[in-house]
Assembly symmetry: C2
Homo-oligomer: 126 residues x 2
């Protein structure tokens, strides 16, 4: 039973959830190659839409996502990847989760504290 | 601070997570109108890519998703919606979560038990 990569020009959304805490850490996209690499290596690998190439999450920072379990949905056009996230945070802005802003009275406000200094990891590059 | 609807032809992925259990229930897509309706009504509303129109989740089944909290990610191109899911299940196939299949030794297998009979709710239609 194959995944359906036809709906988003060859991509599927991949929801990354912390296997221990249940926190949703990020959403990336996978093409068929990224999907295969993820399964074969056990490290979450995406297709970077901005750079148009495979993107091993944590390649530069070391903050890799170790795959613990993978689920798919009824339409087989999305995967939910449960991971152990290496390092202090998944978000390149310095947070545990990319979802660090919450809607409050119509405005987005920061709802998590940073867990590391991204400049020390990425040298100021995002 | 607006969301970025430009990356997927006017759509953003919306991850639906059970606010109480942390279970990821489904992933849908919202266009800007669906997003506004979701915020204004407090019920998760999507844009149906197959029917090309707004889709109030639970419109026919009554299994609505009551919005408890909304987060966005660093790129503002995805939302994480924490909900109370009314009814026995979110998936039209009869499961609590649409992610009811897990990859085991390269094969997808059912990893959750059905929670209701979809024929009784949807009359056999999916």
């Amino acid at each position: 039973m194959e995944l359906d990569f036809t709906k988003l020009d060859g991509l599927i959304p991949a929801v990354i959830q912390d296997a221990a805490s249940g926190r949703v850490l990020m959403v990336g996209f996978m093409n068929e190659e990224a999907w295969k690499v993820t399964v074969e290596t056990g490290f979450a690998t995406f297709y970077s839409r901005s750079r148009n190439k495979l993107w091993l999450k944590g390649e530069s920072s070391g903050h890799r996502l170790v795959v613990k379990s993978i689920e798919t949905d009824c339409d087989r056009d999305t995967v939910l990847v449960l991971v152990e996230a290496l390092g202090p945070g998944v978000c390149h802005n310095g947070y545990r989760s990319c979802f660090y802003r919450t809607l409050t009275n119509g405005e987005w406000s920061e709802s998590e504290k940073p867990t590391y200094d991204p400049k020390a990891i990425y040298g100021g590059k995002s």
